[in-house]
Each structure stands twice: as C-alpha cells, then as structure tokens.
Amino acid sequence: MKQSSLAAFLGSKAKRPAVAAAVQASAPQDALQQKAESVPAKPSPKKRVRKSPAPEPAKTFQAEAGPKLKRLRKAGDTVQPAAPEGIEDDMAAAGLSGSRSPTPEAAPQAIASISSTQDADHTEAILTQAEDQKPSSGAVLASAVGTDDGAATTPSASEASETDEDDVLEIGEAAPKPKTKRASKGSKKENAAPKHKKARLKQGTLEGGQLDAESDGDGEGGKKKNPAKRPVLDSKVVGVGTKSLAEAAHHNTFDLSTLGTWQAGKPVPFAFLADAFEAIAQESGRLVITRLLVNAFRTVIALTPQDLLPVVYLCTGQIAPSHEGIELGIGDAILIKALSQATGKSDAILKQQLKESGDLGIVATKARSTQRTMFKMSALTVPFVFKTFRDIASMEGHKSQERKRELISKLLTSSKDNETGYIMRALQGKLRIGLAEQTVLVALAHAVLLQREVGNAKKAVDAGLANRLEEASQSVKQAYSQCPSYDDLIGTLLEHGLENLKDRVHFRAGIPVKPMLAKPTTGVSEVLNKFEDIEFTCEYKYDGQRAQVHLMENGKVSIYSRNAENDTSKFPDVVSVLPQLLRPGVTSAVLDCEVVAFDRGTQQIRPFQVLTTRARKDVKLEDVKVHVLLFAFDCLFLNGDVLVEKTLTERRKALESAIEPRQGVLQVATSKTSRDLAELEVFLDDSVAAGTEGLIVKTLDSTYEPSKRSSHWLKLKKDYMEGAGDTFDVVVIGAWHGEGKRTGVFGAFLLAIYDDDAEEYQAISKIGTGFSEVLLKELADSLREHIIDSPRSYYKFGKPEPHVWFDAQKVWEVKAADISISPKHQAALGLVEAGKGISIRFPRLVRVRDDKTAEQTTSPEQLADMYRNQAAVNHGKQAADD
C-alpha cells in the first residue's frame, strides 16, 4: 500500500516564486526543500512521509514552478544527485505545477560529442537536438554542483503558463554548449537517464554512431554516405545491401542498462512506449526507425517478455487480429467529451482547438488539466493501457458510451507528457508516426534474432549478421502474411525463436489471410508480353465482393472480406448451404471466392450495386432478398493441408476435389487456358458479355501470395483500351460548392489517394463532370456528415483549395482518360519526377466503394507503375505509328 498525502496542493501554483535563487549549487536537496517550504499554505508535516515503492534510478518529482526553468545541462558533471526522497511525493502529487514551454525550446543546444568527421558531428548534433526539443521533456535534476547554476536559471514567466506533470526538473548550466568533450557525453547520459526514456532510445542510436566513430574514425553520417570506407562492408552478402550491413553493425551498441527503465518482470511503463513513438515520429528514415523499434523491442524482450504482445499491438495501432473485429477508432465527439471530463476544459474550447490544430493528439497534449487532482495517478503501464483499450473497444450495450468515456477519461488523467497524445491517437485508431506494419514486423524479427543470438551482452557482430537479420525479417513477414495474428506469432517467437517458424506459424482454417490481388494491365498484348514463356490461364473477373470462405473441421463456416473482416453474418444463406456442397470426405477447406448478386428468376448475374444493397450484418435467412452466387477460384487449405505454397494447377485440382458446384449457388469461376491472341480477345469479350469486369490472368505455376498485389496475377479489363490502365480507388477529401443548376449541392470534388508510408492523403485530381443531378444530391447527402472544419494535417494538396473539407471516409472508384505528371497534385510525389506528383485526367465516377476503407485506395506505387506502363504503351504506339 502506498502512502501519499494531500501535499498535492502544496507546491501547486503559487504564483511564480523565484525558484532560481533557491537552488544552491552546493546543496541542491536543501534548496529544493526550501523551495517546497517556501510555498504558502502547506499542510501538516505528514505529507513528507512516503514509502518509496520501487527503487528507481533517480527520484523524480514535479517541480512547482512559476518561472520556467530553462532546461539546461551541466556539462562535465559526474555527480548524479537524486531528488530528495521526502519531497518527491509532495511535489509530484501536486501534479499541478511545473513548467513547460508550450513550444519546443530551441535554446539549449545539447552536448554533442566530438567525432572525427564533420558528418558525424552534424548527425549527432541533430539527433541530440531533436531530443532536446521533445516538447514535453521534463528536466533532469542534473546537478547544481557547479557554481553559478542557480543564478543561471532564468525565470521566464510568459512561458510558464502551462501546467505540467513533468517528472523531472533539470537545472544546469545556462549557456548553450554545442560541443564539449566526449567525456561530457557520459555524464549527460547519466543525468538524462532517470526518466528520459526517449533520450535513452536516442542514445542507443547516438552511441551507435559514436562507437563507429571510435572504431574506424567514421561517424554515422559519414558511414551512410560513404559506405566504401568501412572495410566490413566490402564483404558483401548476397541479397543484402550495404545499408543493411551498416545497420547490422549498429546492433552491437545495444545497451540494456541505459534503455531499460524498469525492473525486469514488472509491466512495461507506457511512457517507455510513448517515448519510443516520439523518437520514431521525429525520424523519417526507415532504417533509423527500425533501429529505434528494435532497441525498444529488445528491451521489452529482455525485461518483460510477456508484454511484448501488447507492445507490438500498440505499435501497429491494433488491439486484436483484424478478423476478430475488435477495433478502436473512437469518434472525435466522445473523445472530446472524455478529454473535457479529464481536464475540466469545456467542450467548446477543445473543439475550437481541434479546429485550429486538426489533431486531437495535439489538443490533448496541450490541454493539460485546469483541474487539479487530489493525488497523483499511478503511472500507466503498457498492459493496463492495452487492456483498457480492449475493454473500450469491446464495450457495448446499455450506457456503453458513458462507460467508454469514463475509461478514456481515466486514461487521460493518468497520462502525462507525451503519453496523452499517443493515447488519444491510438483511441482514434491511428498513431500517425510513420510506422508501417512491415517495419514493425522487421523490427520484431530483428529484436528476436538479436536477443536470441546476442542477448544483453555487448558482442561484436560478425559479417553474417546482416544476412541473418534479413532472413529473419523474411520469415517473420512470411509467417505473418500467412497467419495474421500477433498472438500466434509472438507467442511462438518468444518460445521457439525463429527456428522452424514456418512450421509453427502457418496458414490455418479460422484465421483469414489478406487475399492475393492482381496487377492492372493495358491489354491482351501486354499480358502476352509479360507471360511470354510462362503458362497462364484466364478467369472471369466477376463484379462482386471478395469472400474467403473458411470451412472448419467442427462444421463452422466463416466468411471474411478482403479486409479480413468477418462477414459471416452478412451471408447466412451461403453459410447454410455450403456444407452440403462439400464432396464426401472433405473435413475442412478454405476457398477464395467472389460473391456476386444473382437473379434466380433470369439466372443472370446482377451488378455490384445490387449486392451493396444487402444489409451489412446480422442478416436473417428469411429476410434475404438479394440472392448471391459464389464463384470459387482458389483453394488455400484442404483437409488440414496448407496449399498456399502449392502451384495454381494443384490448387485448382484441390478446389475441384473439395466442392460439388451447384448452378446459381456455388460455381467455379469460368476459365480458359490459351495463348492465342484472337482467342483471348474473344474470351475477354465473352466475359464482358457475361456481366463481369473482364479477366484475371494467372500463371499456372505461381503460389498463393497473401496480401500481395502480385505480378503473377494480372487483371485485364475491357475498358482499358479507352483510357488509363485501370480504374482508380480514391477517397474524397474536399468539394467545391456548385453553381447554377448545381446550387445547393457540390459541383466538384477533390480526390486523394492514401500513402501508407507517409500516412497521408495526397490529392490526385478534381472531379466535376459526369454526374447526374440526382447523383450529385445523393453524393452531397452522403458526404455532408463527414464535413470537417479544416483540412487534416495529413492532407497534402495544391491550389486552389476546395470550399469544404471532408474527413477521409468515402472511397470512389473512378475511371480516367490519362495519367499525367502534375506540378499541382501531390499524389505519388517524387516517385516519377522529383518535386512533382501524378494526376489523373478527366476522371469519371464509376461507383462508390463502400467495401473499401479510406486507406485502401490505389497506392502511390501503383499509380507510379500505371504511369510508367502508360508511358511505355504510348511509346510503343508512337513507335508503331512511325
């Protein structure tokens, strides 16, 4: 049992007492006590009593502090004074004061160590500075051993406005010290260590550079630019770039003692993760981000392996495998209410701030409480945050909104510094720190490999490490694509490591994989070119919805969408009939299918739009009006055997042996194997006549590649001949008010695509023609609810700006006449031509894609590919014309 005290109110915000002078060089502890005592209205001495629960590297406390204490570091210090114990809670509990400048301080340049090259120096200085600029960083009670430190602390009332819960107060030397001796680095680290977890992660990286510098006289920056200098890099490993080798070399600098901020076996503090996020958010280089994450994961594996799972989930912004359908994505309205409850600020003010900054995370971080607390909340831990997230996400029924708000509010009240912003963003369902899931997988693989091989010991890395790291990444990515469940993956990795991962974590009935996708092509001739010496087959591309049907041994049937969402309750008719259509002896199977709407009267396939009129979930069998037909075209699993790595020929055989097709209910996709141009053209025409979109061309010896847009599958649409290679999936982010006849509705819309790497929406085109009046009204009605006051910070667009902005929600499929380089639109910026984006010309709306999320638009890479293809075709045409 902890004993705290009401002293919360002690240090509160007495108006800016002169702290500076109080801090005496020789006796910092006394000084602090004095300071505490100098504060008015101090209750009984009881407040001093406190049992310190867990030994921490250094005592931290919340500073009272009207005047802003410049964060300063005393260079060359080796003393690490701990905050006096008694005071800690007094001030900490206050939770109310402390100073923080609302904007990152630019001022004190941290101590950068001297390395032998300019580059190295430069890089380090930047990194160190970044650390300094961490807006919420507390100050470390560095030391007051020097002489003039106290005096150097400049009160700066104007910046002291914001209250804060910073744990640590740093008092040091005022003068910026850009560079000092290396020796100072050590002390800085010590000083910064106590609570600067982010600083630690950073130091991991910094140190990397440093050690390199020591070993071969080349710093981090220099090394990247000039890899040839490094002898070790010359021993090239096949398939691994020099960068990877350089990266691998960094791993010998992993130092658990500086990174681990908590006791082994104790829950991982959420602050550790938030600091890692913060560090990652400030980086854009994939390699650096991976390294930061590897260090974080290794620390967790070393100290509290059982928390690795929640850590990884939180990194990916998920809380459960996607097929379980437990997602956060809490609406802004409820988050604002919770924030208001937690901080005591009014909804109106928060909404205003959200308008201004466009990011609830920032609003939450800034909105430090105007409400004091009785006692300080205990620090958040990763498992607690994760569990609360899951509770929030799975809460339903009576008063669930209210209970959610309570839980969120509690999280927000308990959070401090940078934790608040990340909790907010995680609740929204998107961290926006530029951390792609693939990076998480790579980091996970590396961390597991390194902890297994090297452990916590510092050991020189051998030349083969880069290669092994790469192999590890591949096998983890492979395992995850086949079995997208971190529960399975991480459990296995922790227990067995990477050995035989493939046999332990693999595809199985019940866990859907993301479907394999096809690449667009411009015509039959391109197909023939691409598959010149390869056997291929063509299948009708039905105009419906992807469905992965899992028939499990226990007789259970589940149907998953292309996003691995559970669609079972949408198709009770399919579920009821499927088991009867299995051939005798089939116990389990997974089929890849396309569901289309089907008119039983006319025996005709009906358009996609009809299918979308079906209710989304909890459909009752007797209510089914829109009948569906299932076209199976692949079999991924049969009677316990995983088939994804078998060839298409084998999988087709398996498919035929698994099901007994029934007209109008379950059929095998119509296909044809031929190499004849004319015959293929006819087959393509037939497919269109049959009401499909065209053909999918597949190589017969290819395996099933989950979640990949593979070049083994090509799609061939009839209308390709008319314009650009394919239709585009775009999201509507803005609109212009209509004029004349279109008054009252929107006249034109701004379209964007989603860039997964940058986590941003990039404008691709304006669309304004080809709408009927009725359609425009419908579109306006469906979009109005998504209107936002200003563009999100992650929208990238040029001029002119639209009149209204939308939350990126509605995905449209559009057709375009042409793809062109655009100086104005930001889509795929720089991918084809430096400084320029790609735009689509004369777009026309094909249909609204309710089955796609805003993050599933055409990707910048696809767009760039399509541009290149088009260019190649045009070139070919020109050549032919000539």
Binding site: M1, K2, Q3, S4, S5, L6, A8, F9, S12, K13, A14, P40, A41, P43, S44, K46, K47, V49, L96, S161, E162, T163, Q341, A342, G344, K345, S346, A348, I349, Q353, R368, S369, T370, Q371, R372, T373, M374, F375, K376, M377, E406, S409, K410, T413
Partner: protein, 265 residues
C-alpha cells in the same frame, strides 16, 4: 467475524446513494472503531471519506480488521431492496469472499438475506492531514444543494468566495452568469437553518460543479453542510450524520481563470 446492525436501515441506503455516483468500486474497511470507506473518483479529482462509528450501531462486532471490496452500484442495487424502515445487518466472515446484508422489517414479518460477492480492489491508503482552514461555512444542506443545481444549469464551474459578510457562489456560462450570496445568519433559532461563517482570511476558489452536485446527493443525511476552504487546497464538504459519523468529500480546485486563459491562449 464482522457484524453490524443498524436500526435505521434508511441511513445505509442514503449513504450508498451519496457515494455511488462518485466511485464505482471501493473497499469498505471494518475495524473495531467502525465502518469506513475512503475512495477517489476515477480522475482523482475528488475523494470521499465515510465514517460510521461503531458506537452508532445497535450492535457492532469486528474481531479482526477487514477490507471488503465492493462494486457500489451492486451494493446500492441490494440495498434498494430494503424497506426504508427496515433494520439492516451486515455480516462477513474474516476470510470469506462475500458479505451478507440482512433486512428485517420492523414488525419482524419479513426477513431477507442478500449475499454480495466481494472483489479485490487495489487501493491506496491515502493520508489526509488535519488542517486549519482559512474559512468554514456551515449552511443548510438543502440550500447548498439548490445552489449547486441552479448554478449548473448556467455554467460548469463555480467560484466560491467567502468573506466575513457571506459566501458567494458565482458561475459563468454561454447564456450568461449567475451569483448567489448567502449572508451570515445566526438569528434563526433553529441551528439547522443558520448560516455561520468562521473566517480567518477571505478565500476564493473555483470548482467543477459536476462534483459538487454529486456531493449534494448526501443532503438527506444531514440538515446542514460544512464547507471548509483554504487557498490552493481542496474544499472539504462535510455532512455530519447524527450520532454515528460523517461523510466528507474533498474536491481539488480548478486552476483559476486568468491562468486558464493563458493556457488556452
């Protein structure tokens, strides 16, 4: 073994109503001295401290100190089943995982047993120091309840300022502002209708009305309420329950307006 019998069962029902909005789960501590509870709301902004002394019960036995974790809503659900005039007896074994509420109607015609599962609640023992307060106001509890209710229809926060003449409650909202002043009034005969101000120095503090409204749920327990305030410290809102104990609510003040503006600006 813990056993406590209370003739006025109504009192226990009212106590539960007075705390269940503020706190979801809490530990009831049973000791030889009495039956008590101390808990904070989920945001740690307020604290409720309940004390029912052993001598206030008709029968009180507590062999060993116990801490019983309960979900207050569930306790309230059970107590709702007790009649207002029922005699309530609470019983628990030292190492048991349940607590029993027994309700006896006055004429002993109806006896009911309700057994509630206990839960493990992690709680901190919070030390609350005794403090000299700068200002203490005793006023009719109904008046206080009405003020809180009226003001919360105008604004979210209340500024309470105490001077030697009286205590002023003010609020500001979108639609306008409101001020209610209660003057020192010791002229009335009945003590419970008096407003008495004991002042060392004038105080002014800002609070979230939401919490005060929750506190006012304790109004049926006492005819008067005592507000104790000091600069920068939580207000104590105390309801004395005749002959048996008290409920004290502590509420942390808000940071004052000028600073809010600075923060927001």
């Amino acid at each position: 073994m813990f056993e406590a019998r209370l003739t006025q069962g109504r009192l226990l029902k009212q106590v539960l109503e007075a705390i269940k909005d503020l706190v979801t789960d809490a530990n009831f501590d049973c000791a030889a001295t009495g039956f008590s509870l101390q808990a904070m709301d989920s945001s740690h902004v307020s604290l409720v401290s309940l004390m029912l002394r052993s001598d206030g019960f008709d029968h009180f036995r507590c062999d060993r100190s116990l801490s019983m974790g309960m979900n207050l809503n569930n306790v309230a659900k059970m107590l709702k089943c007790a009649g207002n005039d029922d005699i309530i007896t609470m019983k628990a074994e030292d190492s048991g995982d349940t607590v029993t509420f027994m309700f006896e109607s006055q004429n002993q015609e109806r006896i009911s047993d309700f057994e509630l599962k206990l839960m493990d609640i992690d709680s901190e023992q919070l030390g609350i120091p005794d403090t000299e307060y700068a200002a203490t106001v005793r006023m009719p509890s109904g008046e206080f309840q009405r003020i809180c209710k009226d003001l919360s229809s105008i604004g979210d926060t209340v500024i309470i300022s105490v001077t030697k003449d009286g205590v002023k409650f003010s609020t500001n909202g979108d639609i306008g502002s409101a001020n209610i002043t209660c003057r020192q009034n010791t002229a009335v005969d009945k003590q419970e209708e008096q407003t008495v101000i004991d002042l060392n120095e004038p105080v002014q503090l800002t609070f979230a009305l939401r919490y005060l409204n929750s506190f006012a749920k304790a109004t049926p327990l006492s005819t008067s309420v005592i507000l104790s305030m000091s600069k920068e410290l939580p207000v104590v809102v105390e309801y004395r329950i005749a002959e048996i104990g008290h409920i004290k609510y502590y509420l942390a003040p808000k940071i004052e307006d000028e600073e809010m503006e600075e923060n927001d600006g």
